[in-house]
C-alpha cells in the first residue's frame, strides 16, 4: 500500500534511483498484568475515577517507601526468557530524575546499568515463511508515570491512577529494515506476552506503547550517508507504528535530498505521530543534554536471583507462537495461514492441540476451529474454549467427517446445535437430527431409481454424450443430495448413479 507523501517531491526519478537501507530499532513499553502496582498495594485499574487508585507510596508522599512487587519481577524474567535473554543474577533499582507534574516523586524508579534481562533475540515471521532474528539489547522494569489532563481551562490536572504501574521496557538493536518487519516484531511480541500471561497487551488501553528509532543509510556515488536518527514517541497502535516508520523513511529521503544533512553527535530529534494528518511532527529538534542523574535507589534492596528461582520461572515457559506455527505446518501439514490463525492466541492453540491429542484429524479440527468456532467466538466476543464445546467432542466430529459418517454440510449443522447444547455428543446430534451420511447402497439405489425415473430429460441428455453429458450427471447427483437432505455419501451415490446410467 503506497502512502500519500506530504511536501513536494522535487525529483521523483532521483529519489527512486537512490540506493538506501532502512534501520529501525524499537523500544517497547509493555504494561504487566499484575494485580497491584510496581511498588505499592494499589490495584491496577483502567478507566477508574481519577486519583481513586492511589496511596501514600504512589502519590510520593513524604516518608513513604516503595516495596517491590515480586510478581512483576517474575513476569519480567519470564518475558526475558521468552526473548532468549540472559537473566541477571543480580540486579538493582535506580532513580531516574526529572521534573514533570505526572511524576509525583520527580524521579522514576527504573533500572539503569543492570537490567533484568540482556542480550536476547526474537524471531519474526517473514512474508516468505522464513524467520528473521532481531536482537534484543535489554529489557528492564520500571514504574509508569501518571497522566496530565488539560481539560480544565486555565488549569491542568494530574491523574495518578496510572502512576506506579509496572512497565517492562524492551529495547531492540536496530535490526529491522522495513516498517513491515517492525510491525511483525510488535505483533509477535504481543502474542508472546499474551501467551505467557504477563500482559493483556490491549492496545486500546495503552498496554503496549512503541517508540521506533528510524534512520537510513543512503549510498550515492559509492559513498554512504547516514541520516540523523529520529525517535517517534508514544505510538499505541500497530497501524501508527507501521505508518509512522514509512512516513519517516520518505521524509528522511526527501530531507537528505534537500539538505544533505547526515547523522552527527547531538542531532537526533524526537517526533510525534499525528494520526489525523498521517504525519510525524517535530517535538524536540536536538536531543537535549538530559542528565537524569541515575543512582541506585537506597529505599530498595538489590534483587538476587538464585539458580533455583530461575529454574522455577523457566518451568513456566511454554512453546512460543512462532515455533508452534512452524510445527503445525510441518507436523500437521497445515497452511501457513491456518497455522497463523490457530497460534494467534494461546487458548486457541491449546484447544487445537487438545483436540488433536483426543484423536481428532488435524486438518478437519483446524477447519472447524478457524471457520465455525472462530465465527461464533467472534460473535460472542469470547475465546474458543469459552464456547463450551470440548476438544474431545471436536475431535469426535472431525473423525466423523473423515470416516464419512457425516458430510461437511451436515457437520456445519451439527456444530450449530453443539453451540446451543455443548454437552451433547456430535454422533447423538447426527442421529437425532437425521444428519448421518447415507452410504447404504440398497437405500441409495431406491432413491436414485426414483430420481432417474422423474428426470428422463436429464438421462437422455447424459446418454446423448458431449457437452451436456457432464452437466446432466451433476444435475442428477444434485437431485439425489436434495432428496437425502445432503446425507447421501457423494462418493457412493456417484458410483451407483454411474453404474445405472451406463446400463
Amino acid at each position: 500500500m503506497k502512502r500519500q507523501l506530504i511536501g513536494i517531491r522535487k525529483d521523483r526519478r532521483l529519489m527512486s534511483k537512490l540506493d538506501y537501507k532502512v534501520l529501525v530499532g524499537l523500544e517497547i513499553h509493555v504494561q504487566l498484568y499484575t494485580r497491584t502496582k510496581m511498588f505499592c498495594g494499589c490495584e491496577l485499574a483502567f478507566g477508574a475515577e481519577p486519583n481513586s487508585r492511589v496511596c501514600p507510596v504512589c502519590l510520593g508522599m513524604p516518608g513513604s517507601l516503595p516495596v517491590m512487587n515480586r510478581q512483576a519481577v517474575e513476569f519480567s524474567m519470564l518475558a526475558g526468557l521468552a526473548l532468549n535473554c540472559q537473566i541477571a543474577q543480580f540486579t538493582k533499582w535506580d532513580r531516574k530524575s526529572y521534573y514533570y507534574p505526572d511524576l509525583p516523586k520527580n524521579y522514576q524508579i527504573s533500572q539503569y546499568d543492570l537490567p533484568l534481562a540482556l542480550n536476547g533475540f526474537l524471531e519474526i515471521p517473514m512474508a516468505d515463511g522464513s524467520l528473521k532474528k532481531i536482537r534484543i539489547r535489554r529489557a528492564h522494569l520500571e514504574e509508569d508515570a501518571g497522566k496530565n489532563l488539560h481539560t480544565a481551562g486555565n488549569f491542568s490536572q494530574v491523574d495518578l491512577n496510572r502512576a506506579g504501574t509496572p512497565l517492562l521496557e524492551i529495547v531492540t538493536e536496530p535490526d529491522m529494515e522495513a516498517a513491515a518487519e517492525v510491525r511483525a516484531l510488535a505483533e509477535e511480541l504481543q502474542r508472546i506476552v499474551r501467551y505467557l500471561g504477563v500482559s493483556e497487551a490491549d492496545m486500546q488501553k495503552g498496554h503496549m506503547r512503541f517508540e521506533p528509532n528510524v534512520n537510513l543509510i543512503i549510498t550515492r556515488n559509492g559513498q554512504e550517508f547516514k541520516t540523523p536518527i529520529v525517535e517517534v514517541k508514544n505510538l499505541n497502535s500497530f497501524r501508527a507504528l507501521e505508518n509512522s516508520i514509512n512516513y519517516e523513511i520518505e521524509r528522511q529521503l526527501e530531507r537528505f535530498l534537500e539538505t544533505g544533512e547526515t547523522m552527527e553527535m547531538g542531532n537526533k530529534s524526537t517526533r510525534g505521530w499525528d494520526d489525523a494528518k498521517e504525519a510525524t511532527v517535530l517535538q524536540r529538534e536536538k536531543e537535549e543534554a538530559h542528565d537524569y542523574r541515575y543512582f541506585p535507589d537506597p529505599d530498595l534492596v538489590p534483587v538476587r536471583v538464585s539458580e533455583q528461582q530461575l529454574n522455577e520461572i523457566k518451568s513456566r515457559l511454554c512453546e512460543l507462537p512462532s515455533k508452534k506455527r512452524l510445527r503445525y505446518i510441518k507436523e500437521y501439514g497445515l497452511s501457513d495461514y491456518d497455522a497463523g490463525v490457530l497460534t494467534e492466541m494461546r487458548a486457541t492453540a491449546e484447544f487445537f492441540e487438545a483436540a488433536v491429542k483426543a484423536g481428532g484429524e488435524p486438518k478437519r479440527v483446524c477447519n472447524i476451529i478457524t471457520k465455525e468456532y472462530s465465527r461464533e467466538a467472534n460473535e460472542r466476543n469470547c475465546t474458543i474454549p469459552e464456547l463450551g464445546v470440548s476438544p474431545g467432542k471436536t475431535a469426535e466430529l472431525s473423525k466423523m467427517i473423515v470416516i464419512g459418517t457425516v458430510s461437511a454440510t451436515a457437520a456445519t449443522s451439527i456444530i450449530s446445535i453443539m453451540f446451543k447444547s455443548p454437552e451433547q455428543e456430535p454422533e447423538q446430534i447426527a442421529h437425532e437430527h437425521n444428519l448421518l451420511q447415507k452410504s447404504d447402497a440398497g437405500e441409495l439405489e431406491g432413491i436414485i431409481d426414483e430420481v432417474l425415473k422423474n428426470n428422463q430429460q436429464a438421462v437422455d441428455d447424459f446418454k446423448a454424450g458431449g457437452k451436456k453429458s457432464g452437466k446432466a450427471r451433476g444435475f442428477l447427483l444434485g437431485q439425489v443430495m436434495q432428496k437425502t437432505k445432503g446425507t447421501a455419501n457423494p462418493k457412493v451415490a456417484g458410483e451407483i448413479l454411474d453404474r445405472k446410467l451406463s446400463q
Binding site: 501514600p56 502519590l59 510520593g60 508522599m61 513524604p62 516518608g63 513513604s64 517507601l65 516503595p66 516495596v67 517491590m68 532513580r95 530524575s97 521534573y99 507534574p101 509525583p104 516523586k105 520527580n106 524521579y107 491542568s156 494530574v158 542528565d291 542523574r293 541515575y294 543512582f295 537506597p298 529505599d299 530498595l300 534492596v301
Partner: protein, 488 residues
Amino acid sequence: MDLLSARQLRDKIKNREISSVSATKAIFECIAKVEPTIGAYISTFEGEAIQKAAEIDKRIAAGEKMGRLAGVPIAVKDNMCTTFGTTTCASKILANFHAPYNATVVEKLLAADAVIVGKTNLDEFAMGSSTENSGLKQTVNPWDTTRVPGGSSGGSTAAVAAGLCYAALGSDTGGSIRQPASLCGVVGLKPTYGRVSRYGLVAYGSSLDQIGPVTQTVEDCALMLNVIAGHDPADSTSVDEKTAPAGDYLAKLDEPIKGLRIGIAPHFNAGADEQVRKAIDEALKTYKNLGATLIEIDMPHFDYAIAAYYMVATAEASSNLARYDGVHYGYRTPNPNDYIEVYTKSRAEGFGKEVKRRIMLGTYALSSGYYDAYYLKALKVRNLIRGDFVKAFEKCDCIMMPVSPTTAFKIGEKTDDPLKMYLSDIYTIAVNLAGIPGISIPCGFDDKNLPIGLQILSPAFGEEKLLRVARMFETATDWHKKRPAINE
C-alpha cells in the same frame, strides 16, 4: 521538679499510683511554663493528649492488658508522619502539611498506649547540627539558653532534658540523635540501620537515616527500643526477623558484660576539647574499675568519613527532596507565570539556605561526568569505613569515643561557617556510614556546667549488648540524674 523515668512512670500508672491524666497535665503545665523559653515543640496536642490519657486510665481501671508505654507522655520529632497535627520537617515548604498516614514508629507508640504530647523542632529536613536551621523556630539548650541544643533532633533532646516529655523519638543521619543528646545531657541511641522501620520518616539520606529513642536513662532507651524495633514489610531496608530478630532489650539489661573489651583510638580523642577528653578518660577509668580492658584500635579511613558523608547524604537528599515542588502538596508560590515557575519559585521560596546548599551539592555529585569522581568514590570510602569497623570489632566488644568535640556552642557561633558546623559531626558520622548502632550517654560536665556525652558503638544489630554496656556506666555513675535548672 524531679521527673520520674518513663519506666517508673509507666509502672506507677499501671499500678494506679499516678493517673496518666495527671502526669500528662503536669507535662503541659511544664510546657506552659518553660516551652516559651526552650522552643522545643513545633506543635503540641494538649486536648487530644489528655483525652487519650483519660482513656488509658479508664482501661487500666477496667483491668485491661496495657501496652509497654501505657499512659507515658512522649514527643515525636516533626519529621515523622502523623495523621494528627502537621508534619512540617521544620520547613516552610511543609508548614501546613497534614500527612495522610502514620509513620510505623508512630503506630507502634500508639499501639504501646503512649500519649503523644507534641512534635519537636529540628533542623529543616534534619539537615544540621544545632537546630538553628529550623525554618520555623529556634530551640535553645536547657542548660544554657544562649546555646544551641545540638541537632538535628535538638527539639527532642531539649524536650527530654527540660522535662517537657518523658521520652522522645529522634532521627539520626550523621549524628542527629547522639550529638544533641550529648549537648543536652540525655541518652540518645541510633540503632543499627534496618533495626527500626523508616516508613513515615521523611527521608533526608535514605541509606543513613535511622529513628531512635531520646530518653533520660539507658533503661528507658531499652524500653523505647522494645516498642519501636522490628521488621516492617513497608520498609524493604528494615531487617527481617530471620536475619536479626528484634530482642527484648530490657531482659538482661542489668547484667554487666564480663571481661568487656573496649576499643579506643587515642588519636581521635586528641581532636576533642580538653574538658571533653578528660571526661571521656574518666569514663574509661570507670569502666576499667568495672573490670573492662582497653584495646587500641586503628581506623585508617576514619578521616574520610565527613567527606564521604556529605557526598552520599546530599546526593540522596537532592533526590529525596525533589518531590517538594508545589505541584502535589506543600507550599506553592502564589503567582507563577508558568508551570516551570511553580517548581523553581516554590522551591526557592520554600526551602531554607542549608537545605538548598545540600540539594545543590548532591545534584552536582550525581551529575553525569562527576558521578564516578564523587558519588561512586564516596560509596567506596563508605565500604572501607565499614571494613574498618568490622576489623576493629574482631578485637573488641565495643568502641568508645566522644560524641562531639565540644560542649554546646553559642547560638549563631557557627552559622556563617557551614564547614565548621559540618566538622562538629566528626565522631558521629562514620557510624551512619557503617550502619552500626551508637549511643550517647551523659558522662560529665565542663566548667560551664554543660553536659558531655560518651559515645559507645557496637557491631551491627548488637543493641542488646550495647545497652548493657551503657547500663553498666549508668549504674555506676550519677551523671544521668543531673537536671538543668530551667524548671526550678
